[in-house]
């Protein structure tokens, strides 16, 4: 594998080609920027709730209120995680409702679409009937996806990432600025729960609860990202099915 220390003629060619591509700013560029900064001075500091938005499956943005983004910490997020209050979670789930937690059948992520997933992800769970339950309910299966699949799916590739057993090739969770993505029981689940930088408990529309336990001390691996050992626990709504606990590494970055 090439390392960052390697440098050869190829780098020079890449650099030259990419430099050539960068478009020059238009003539009125700095006039507009300066005007924009002056306007911003009048408007005052940004409202942190600029980030508190909910993006539905059509890409429309609906602002949420009453939700506080947890403060980010360079020394650890254990004090800020799990900050979704009951009220906020209710807001998220209520707003998410049917639309927020969607499965992408045409997703670039390799997902077994034959695993019995509901045709309509928005369908609510049927009430328990007198029909006999399966004698041996299947264990919850958490799948993997490629890191690039998150951004390929049109979601912001920034946030927290969980890798199984410290293997950064085996990505099984992304909790981004705007969404949580996992593959559970063969279905890709994308929960648009925007506005959080760190990882919170998430309950999907299907009733899976996703949370992290045994979170260890953070290790700073770069300027503003860090790694922490943790265990990802996925608990199905079906009480006859046991939760699955997966040890690994949680990365969070700006």
């Amino acid at each position: 594998m090439t390392t960052e220390a390697d440098h050869d003629d190829l780098d020079d060619l890449i650099a030259a080609a990419m430099q050539d591509e960068i478009p020059a700013p238009p003539s009125d560029y700095w006039t507009r920027i300066d005007r924009s900064l002056t306007r911003a001075t009048v408007q005052g500091p940004a409202n942190v709730e600029d980030h508190q938005r909910f993006v539905d499956t059509d890409g429309d943005v609906v602002r949420l209120t009453g939700m506080n983004a947890p403060p980010r910490s360079s020394t650890g997020w254990t004090s800020t995680r799990f900050l979704v209050t009951a009220a906020a979670l209710v807001v998220v789930i209520a707003l998410a409702g049917a639309a927020a937690f969607a499965e992408f059948s045409d997703s670039p992520i390799g997902v077994d679409s034959t695993s019995g997933a509901a045709d309509n992800p928005t369908t609510t769970r049927e009430p328990v009937t007198s029909e006999p339950a399966p004698a041996q309910p299947a264990d919850v299966v958490v799948g993997s996806f490629e890191p690039g699949a998150v951004t390929d799916a049109g979601l912001e590739g920034i946030g927290c990432w969980f890798y199984r057993d410290g293997n950064d090739a085996d990505l099984i969770f992304h909790g981004g600025f705007e969404a949580t993505v996992m593959v559970i029981d063969g279905r890709q689940i994308i929960g648009h729960t925007s506005g959080f930088w760190s990882v919170e408990d998430v309950v999907t529309a299907d009733g899976y609860e996703i949370r992290f336990t045994d979170v260890g001390a953070p290790v700073a691996d770069s300027i503003e990202s860090q790694r922490q050992p943790a265990t990802l626990v996925v608990t199905p709504a079906d009480p006859t099915r046991a939760p699955v606990a997966i040890p690994g590494d949680l990365w969070c970055g700006v």
């Binding site: 594998m1 600029d50 690039g148 970055g253």
Partner: protein, 171 residues
């Protein structure tokens, strides 16, 4: 910390504008590597700069001010890309920008043309990693910080992208 940075952090728009003039080319390169659309670059730059200025009070000094603004620009570019994908209105007219030197017949120039074309075939994150490393000389750690991905992912994507471009250059 420079005087311009200090005044910028105090909310001085003139100083902040001065600072942006110093950083603009690199930041513009990063945004371009993501959105690949000239008109979109201008929109994203303006939005990012205004957002950075309005949020400058939240800068905690965990990284350099340039890295912090870089992160805001990258996020804004990703946001733009996402919305464009939702609307399915990607403007493909600005996707290929061969340099004027592409008409040269030298081997190096031909390789550069091939690389320019191959850049469009890379994922935007791979392109951004190359922009940040090969053009701007940032370390993998700095790139990981800006893009919010693990360092190992930066390294593997950089390696894959370079290999792709190497093959393109050897055609």
């Amino acid at each position: 910390m420079t005087d311009i940075e200090s005044r910028s952090l105090q909310g001085d728009p003139a100083a902040f504008g001065e600072l942006l003039r110093l950083y603009d080319h690199d930041l513009r390169g990063t945004v371009w590597s993501v959105v690949r659309n000239r008109a979109a670059v201008e929109d994203v730059m303006q939005i990012s700069y205004e957002k950075a200025f309005r949020s400058v009070g939240q800068f905690k000094g965990d990284s350099s001010l340039k890295t912090w603004i870089h992160t805001i620009c990258y996020r804004a570019a990703i946001d733009h890309l996402r919305y464009e994908r939702h609307r399915q209105h990607l403007d493909e007219s600005a996707m290929v920008h061969l340099s004027s030197s592409s008409e040269s017949t030298s081997a190096a120039a031909l390789a550069r043309v091939e690389i320019s074309a191959a850049l469009d075939r890379l994922d935007h994150d791979e392109r951004t990693i190359l922009m940040l490393t090969s053009v701007q000389g940032l370390t993998y750690d700095e790139v990981a910080s800006i893009m919010g991905i693990p360092r190992g992912t930066v390294a593997s994507k950089a390696s894959r992208a370079r290999e792709m471009l190497r093959k393109a250059a050897q055609r």
